[in-house]
């Protein structure tokens, strides 16, 4: 008992106070920074990218497909770099495309529009049912980390709940395998209206590294409206929490 309490003192406070401006280590591969003038057209980046996420003339990276693996940069003469900017979520797939003009500020500014109805319905407190549909456990571990003592997502009124019946929306990870397609749809239908759908992780958004698999069934995405796209492979907890905070904000 006393030993346990002593641990509390040893641990001190662990939470990140200002989650919206939390510092990120500079080595983190976040939003790409592209410079056309340095590109010599060697196409090494295109060859290096297994996800067809990058194109040249002009340089363009589609964050819907990019797993932020850094391979293109390793082969490039210096035209491709990565900032440590982690607020990567957007409400439309078009907004996920990064070109030379896109700075972190510009990207973030237009990424998620205020939706009055979201604020008035949920009043900033939102509960999710998470569905892993072929996710590799990378995104799942990061979503679990959102709730730990460092990030403490629960303090903002954002939580994962056990049943879709208690949820305001679902968060999908993974490329949606054939074997999970039914359960996913079932879960969606069991969630009471009004509800939101969020795609979390590159493979949920575009199939990612699994895009060529014959074992996927992504029909769900054609049928239902997607409210938010959160890129990353896996999605960093700060990316996720900030995405949701921006999504439910008032103005």
């Amino acid at each position: 008992m006393f030993e346990t309490l002593k641990m509390k003192l040893w641990q001190k406070k662990q939470y990140i106070k200002d989650i919206k401006n939390a510092p990120m280590r500079e080595q983190f591969r976040g939003l790409p920074k592209l410079t056309n003038s340095i590109c010599n057209g060697c196409e090494q980046c295109i060859k290096a990218c297994p996800n067809n996420a990058i194109s040249i003339n002009p340089l363009k990276i589609d964050m819907a497909k990019c797993t932020l693996c850094g391979a293109c940069k390793n082969f490039c003469v210096g035209a491709i770099n990565f900032t440590n900017f982690y607020k990567l979520a957007a409400d439309k797939p078009e907004k996920l495309i990064v070109t030379e003009e896109i700075t972190p500020e510009l990207y973030y500014q237009r990424a998620i529009e205020v939706r009055k109805e979201i604020y008035s319905i949920f009043n900033r407190s939102i509960k999710f049912r998470q569905v892993s549909a072929g996710g590799c456990n990378g995104c799942e571990m990061e979503l679990n980390a959102c709730g730990n003592a460092n990030f403490d997502m629960g303090r903002f009124g954002i939580d994962f709940v056990a049943s879709p019946r208690h949820a305001d929306g679902i968060v999908i990870t993974g490329p949606i395998t054939k074997n999970m397609a039914y359960a996913l749809e079932d879960c969606y239908k069991s969630t009471p209206d009004p509800k939101v759908v969020i795609l979390c992780g590159t493979c949920a958004i575009s199939g990612g590294v699994f895009k060529d698999s014959l074992e996927l069934n992504r029909e769900f995405l054609d049928k239902y409206k997607i409210d938010l796209y959160i890129p990353g492979c896996p999605v960093h907890p700060l990316t996720f929490i900030n995405a949701i905070l921006d999504f439910v904000r008032k103005k």
Binding site: A162, N179, C203, C233
Partner: protein, 483 residues
Amino acid sequence: MNYYVMKNNQRINLLDIPTVNFESLRAQLIATNLRPIAFFGSDWGENIKLFVALADDEKGEILVTSSLIHKSIKEYESITKENSQYHMFEREFYEQFGIKPLNHPWLKPVRKNQDDYEFFEMQGAETHQVAVGPIHAGVIEPGHFRFNCQGEKVYNLEIMLGYQHRGVEDLMVKNPSNQLVESICGDSVIAYSSAYSQLIEALSETKITPRAEIIRRIALEMERIAIHIGDMGAILGDIAYLMGKETYAVTRTLVINTMLEVSGSRFIRGLTTVGGVNFDISADMSEKIISTLDYVKKTVDKMTNAALNSPTVISRLEKTGNISFESAQELNMVGLMARSCGLNIDSRFDFEDVYYKGIERKAFRATNDAYSRFRIRYKEVKDSIKIVKKLLEKLNKLGNQALITTPNCLVQNSFALSIVEGWRGEVVHIATTDESGKISRYKIKDPSFNNWWGLSIAVRNNGISDFPLCNKGFDLSYCGFDL
């Protein structure tokens, strides 16, 4: 016995692998006491070629053999009936090639055809079933658990998986990449990417620099430390000892954030590449790793001490989810879970690895229960911290060396096998090449493939409410199993 004897990470010619008549192969597999690490088919013209690899842990050797089965043959007498270690392998082989092992005691789908799955059912007064999944209460991967209980007591747990099946083995033939390998099982990024890289390096006879080799192993041990600490927290979380849960969780963060500084990713993605590694560990960085690990060790020591001195913790862990040494062996369990049952197998040491030379292999006193599964993680965290320090020392002595060696083309008509001891246990990757030097078959075996059945044995005769505790102790992979 008619086998070709090979080492870990070695390339051999396909022609060197003996092709034996199936009946005699079957007799050999029943007679041997070496454990199977692979048993899989490959399309071979009008035949199916069945490859079998056995591990001789004592000698550090791998025995490979094969047999041709004509496509018109649709059944054979199961091996499992005589040697239970083949039970999952035969089910998988049946599912992939449709050749039926007759009299297999449990011939159910592995990853496909879930609609036809027939569950085991128990009948009698007060018996009932509990069905859980595929979507679970927490944020975890999907799987279906079917409990047959009497009152609170679990008589049988049946585990149906396959929800995560993404056809990874086919993708690895069509378009293999580091990025894909890292996403097969995202909690064992380094184990998988090392196995893949070593395999391709073996197939292309590429020798990478010692610096790159050591950095890979440092990453492997850091992965082990991080996940083990996280799991110790998860185990305590499931018995509602929240101080432990949170303390371990934030301590794990320190480890993964240190690796972020090396590789740009908390799960060390992007570090490994065929031919070496993309990032170096500088002298400054290695000091940083050491000081972080010193602090981590201190915290883990204190926390573990507090937890294990708490009677409520001990009473929940001790004698929960027992699995005997004999069962573990019969089921062909591997890795961390096998060691927690007293089976001393660890491919880092069993198969010679020059970079682990001089590192002591410490014994573990197994008690085969949840308590054992908690303690072994603590032990391995301590061991791995020591190993990382030793490896860093070796690394700093090396001086400058290239991080990446350009790989050669793959040698035609070859077979290679790579085993890496990830935090769960042995991750086995095998590939064959065709006459044009392209990969023609890629086979993966995650330790979870062996160990899921162990979980179902462990919960027998336990209260159903202890299932989460047992499950966390095993912490098996769904996607590594489902592929």
